[in-house]
Symmetry: C2
Subunit: 270 residues, 2 copies
Amino acid sequence: MSVVLAAPDKYVTMKPKEFREVVRRGEYTGGTGNVCAGYARTAMAIIPKDFALDFFMFCHRNPSPFPIIDFTEPGSPHPLRVAPEADLRTDVTNYHVYINGKLETKVTDIMSYWRDDLVVFLTGCSRGFDAALVSADIKYRSIGVFSTNISCVPAGRFKGPMRTSCRLVKGARDVVRTIQISSRYPAYHGAPIHVGDPAVIGIKDLYHPDVLSRGEAISPLEPDEVPMFWGCGMTLKAVAMASKPPLMITEGDGAMFVTDLLASDLAISS
Amino acid sequence: MSVVLAAPDKYVTMKPKEFREVVRRGEYTGGTGNVCAGYARTAMAIIPKDFALDFFMFCHRNPSPFPIIDFTEPGSPHPLRVAPEADLRTDVTNYHVYINGKLETKVTDIMSYWRDDLVVFLTGCSRGFDAALVSADIKYRSIGVFSTNISCVPAGRFKGPMRTSCRLVKGARDVVRTIQISSRYPAYHGAPIHVGDPAVIGIKDLYHPDVLSRGEAISPLEPDEVPMFWGCGMTLKAVAMASKPPLMITEGDGAMFVTDLLASDLAISS
C-alpha cells in the first residue's frame, strides 16, 4: 500500500463528519494533514485494557509527545469528547499494527483486530499550532522528525526514546513569539523541548531527519534561522518498538484522525 | 480531632521539605492553605489499583475539579514529579478515610491503611492561582464551596455532582482579567465554570455555602461584585460518596499536600 500524504483539494474544505464517512466507505486511504482545514486532528494509540493504566501514566509523565485529548471506554470505538459519532475502527485512513513491538501489518480498517478489551487514546498533533503560527505570520519551515538522545520518563511497562519535530524559525523575535504561541497549545505538544544547537539533544545531522516533512532535500540553514524542537507523536512508534506490548495499533504515516473540534478550541486563553 | 485551618506563622516561611518533616513527626496536624508561601499544594485521592484506570479517565473528563498534577506507581507513596522524597502516608497533616463511600475515620497518618495496590493521585488546588490574582492586584473575596446541579462526566465506576469554589470579583475589568489569569493555570482548576447568576448552576443561596471560606458570615454582595465559580477539589468527597469505592483516602479539610514545586512553575506561558 502506498500512502498519499497530501490529500486532494476536495477534502480540504470538507467537514469532518462527511470526510470520515468517505474514509469509512474506503474511498480515501491517504494522509490527513491538510484535510478539513481548521479542525483538530490527533495521533492514536490502541492498546489492551491491561496496559491502559500504564499508558495513561506514561502519557502524563511525557505530556510533550503525548498530550491526551480523548480516550474511549474499554471496548468502545467512539471518542465521546471529540467525535462521538465516529468509529475509530474504520474512520482513520490507514493503520499500523504492532505485535510484540514489531510493525506486523498496515491496513485500512481494523475490524478484524478489534477486541472488547481495547482502549483508544487520542493525542494532540502539532498541525494544530502550525495554523496559529501561520496566523501570527511567523516565518518558518518544518523540516522533519528526528530521533533524540532524550528518554521518555518510563511508566509501568512503557519506555522509549523521544522523537521530535523540527521547525526552522527566522529571526530572534519570531523565536520568542513561537515559544509564546506554542505554549498556549499544550494539546498540540505545547512549548518546545529545545531551541538551538541540535547536537545538545543528540541530533548529529540536521539535514537528514528520520522523516522528511516535504519529501525533498533540506536547503542549508540560513544565518538568521533558529532550529526549534517539539515533542512528536511519532515517538509512539519508538515506544511500541521499545516496550513491546502484545498489541498496539497506531494511525499510519500522516494519517491522523480528524475530530469535530476546531483546532482553536484547544488553545489556552492568553 | 479538631482541625486548625490557619497554620502558625513559623510554618508560613518554612521550605516544603522541612515542613513535611514536621508533619511526618506528628508535630502539626492542621490546615496547610497558608504554609510554605509560594509553593504549590495539592488535593489527594488514594484508591486501589483496580480503580485507578477508571479514576484516570474520570479526572481527564473532569479537568476543572480534577487537574492531575502527579500520581504514584501502584504501591509507592512517593510522588516522583512534585516531591520525590516525600512519603504520602505520613506527610499530609491529616487524612479522611472513606470505606464504601462513607467517611469512616479521620487520622493523621495512614500507615495502617497502606497496601501494595494503592495508587495516589495529586490534583491541583486553587490556592495556586489565588497568589497570581493577588499579584495582579485583583480585588476579590473567596466566600466558600457550594454544591451545584452540574454532574461530573462519569467514567467507569466514578460519578458525582460537581462542587465549586466561589469568589466575588469587584468590577467588570477585573472579571475579564480574572478569567485570563485563571485560564493560565489549568493545573489549579483553570478557567471558571460559570460567571454571574448562581441560580444557573443550582446555587439557591449565595450566603450559605457548604463550606465557609473564612468561618464567618458572608457580608452582602456589593453592586459591582460579580460571583465567579471554579471547579473545586472538594468535589472528590461527593464523588467518593456517590461512587462508593471500597476504599478512598483523601486529605482532611484544608490539609493539602505541600509539594516542592513553586506555584508559578505550573503556569502556562502567556
